[in-house]
């Protein structure tokens, strides 16, 4: 095995990078889903100020290349007197970008909810916050699991860009190994397998979760 002979000495290093990728992505997935849920609720809110802020956020982060966002935070935060590591900056940037797209998906989930169901909850005396938390959001999340999943898979793919700000995640360590061995093909072949197995695992998890949540729901 040609690939294995090249990779063997570096396998520990590569797996370290892979572990960092998984760690960064899991944190960013949590961040993006929470942020996306909050921003979607703001965008669905009655208050125009909240709607405006949320729109501005999602428009900006959906319409600027991720690399630019990342550099902006990496070089910009210190200018503002905020000193955090490259890893933290990367996780924040991924969460912000992912959150903008997640909010889109959850918002369309919210808009697809049957008005009558919401009216039933309001008439039963639940206040607006409780209607949102107990009825609107849970239903929207259920119908949004799959499209949110695609956003999250994209987030994993995008995480490779963190290598540009010195985060030694999978792509970052691969660059180093490729440079040392002069065998980029073998290195990136391994990378391909690792990324594909991560995203496949993630999408299987999403499908399973979708099934579970929507066991008894129609139209989802």
């Amino acid at each position: 095995m040609r690939v294995w002979r090249v990779i063997e000495p570096y396998i520990g290093f590569l797996l370290q990078g892979f572990a960092l990728t998984i760690f960064a992505c899991l944190l960013a997935i949590i961040g993006a889903v929470i942020l996306g849920g909050i921003v979607a609720s703001m965008r669905a809110s009655q208050r125009s100020a909240l709607r405006w802020v949320a729109h501005a956020y999602s428009d900006i982060f959906r319409n600027v290349p991720f690399l630019v966002q990342l550099f902006f935070l990496f070089y910009g935060l210190p200018e503002l007197g905020i000193y955090i590591g490259a890893f933290e900056t990367g996780v924040i940037a991924l969460s912000l970008a992912g959150g903008a797209f997640v909010s889109d998906v959850i918002l369309s989930g919210i808009r697809s909810i049957d008005r009558g169901v919401i009216e039933a909850a309001r008439v039963s005396g639940l206040n607006d916050v409780k209607v949102f938390l107990r009825i609107v959001l849970p239903i929207a999340l259920r119908v949004s699991v799959r499209p949110v999943g695609s956003v999250l898979i994209n987030l994993v793919l995008t995480s490779s860009i963190l290598s540009t700000i010195t985060v030694n995640e999978l792509t970052g360590v691969a660059k180093i190994v490729a440079a040392e061995t002069f065998k980029p093909f073998e290195v990136y072949a391994v990378l391909l397998v690792l990324y594909a197995s991560f995203t496949t695992a993630l999408s299987l998890a999403i499908v399973a979760w979708h099934r579970r949540l929507n066991r008894f729901m129609t139209g989802a």
């Binding site: 049957d114 009216e119 008439v123 039963s124 008894f216 729901m217 129609t218």
Partner: protein, 244 residues
């Protein structure tokens, strides 16, 4: 008592309710009849606060439903059953029924569940507590919808064509339950096209025509030759319904 005075509701420039005045006293069962588009649903939706009146007043036991506090108070003592059930699709029958008692009335979960199970048993759904709406038939869903309303122990129940989405057989199941309720001194405002049933349970009948109350009569008088039937519009309406 539900007091509606000079209620006006306009959408854009069409007047849907045009000066409706109606009192519903405790213990009464008032049926609202009228042609499609006459404003029956809008009337119900103004009482439960889903639509905001354009003019006039509505109070439920003195609580003005156009104020936030008044509406909250009124929703604690009244409940609505909907034509299309409007069950929460992500909750079991039990979850649907216990949500408001726990969240609004502050009951403990155990207490609310015990009460919900008793209600389900009463409507013949004892074995279905843990089923989701999707797993229930239309008639079963509407029975859950009725339990959800009853769980609030409301003084007033508003029902808007609660059997129109059901086939004749299941309509019977639901009407039987309403019949039982009627004997338990629950106050109801009942919009329906089931004239025969309305006749058997209502204490009063109001007839709406183009946003106005054409007549408001005790049931017996409404169906008397020299009462409601003497009004040409009502005679025409009833003969049409019988034909269907």
């Amino acid at each position: 008592m539900i007091r509606i005075k000079d209620l006006v509701k306009t959408f854009d420039d069409s007047t849907v309710l045009d000066g409706v005045t109606l009192d519903v006293n405790a213990g009464e069962i008032v049926t609202v009849l009228g042609a499609s588009g006459s404003g029956k649903s809008t009337l119900i939706r103004c009482i439960n606060g889903l639509e905001r009146p354009s003019g006039g007043t509505i109070t439920v036991d003195g609580n003005d439903v156009t104020t936030k506090a008044g509406l909250a108070a009124s929703r604690r003592i009244s409940a609505t059953v909907f034509q299309l059930f409007n069950l929460y699709p992500h909750m079991t029958a039990l979850g649907n029924i216990t949500l408001a008692p726990v969240e609004v009335l502050g009951k403990s979960k155990a207490e609310a569940e015990e009460q919900a199970r008793a209600l389900l048993a009463k409507v013949g759904l004892a074995g279905h507590a843990d089923k989701y709406p999707q797993q229930l038939s239309g008639g079963q869903r509407q029975r859950v919808g009725i339990c959800r309303a009853l769980a609030m122990q409301p003084r007033y129940i508003l029902l808007d064509e609660v059997t129109s989405a059901l086939d004749p057989e299941t309509t019977g199941e639901v009407l039987d339950i309403l019949q039982k309720l009627a004997t338990e001194a629950t106050t109801m405002v009942f919009v329906t096209h089931e004239v025969a049933f309305a006749r058997s349970i209502s204490t009063r009948i109001v007839f709406m025509e183009a946003g106005k109350l054409l007549v408001d009569m005790p049931t017996e008088e409404f169906f008397a030759e020299n009462g409601g039937l003497a009004v040409p519009r009502i005679r025409q309406f009833l003969s049409q319904i019988r034909k269907d």
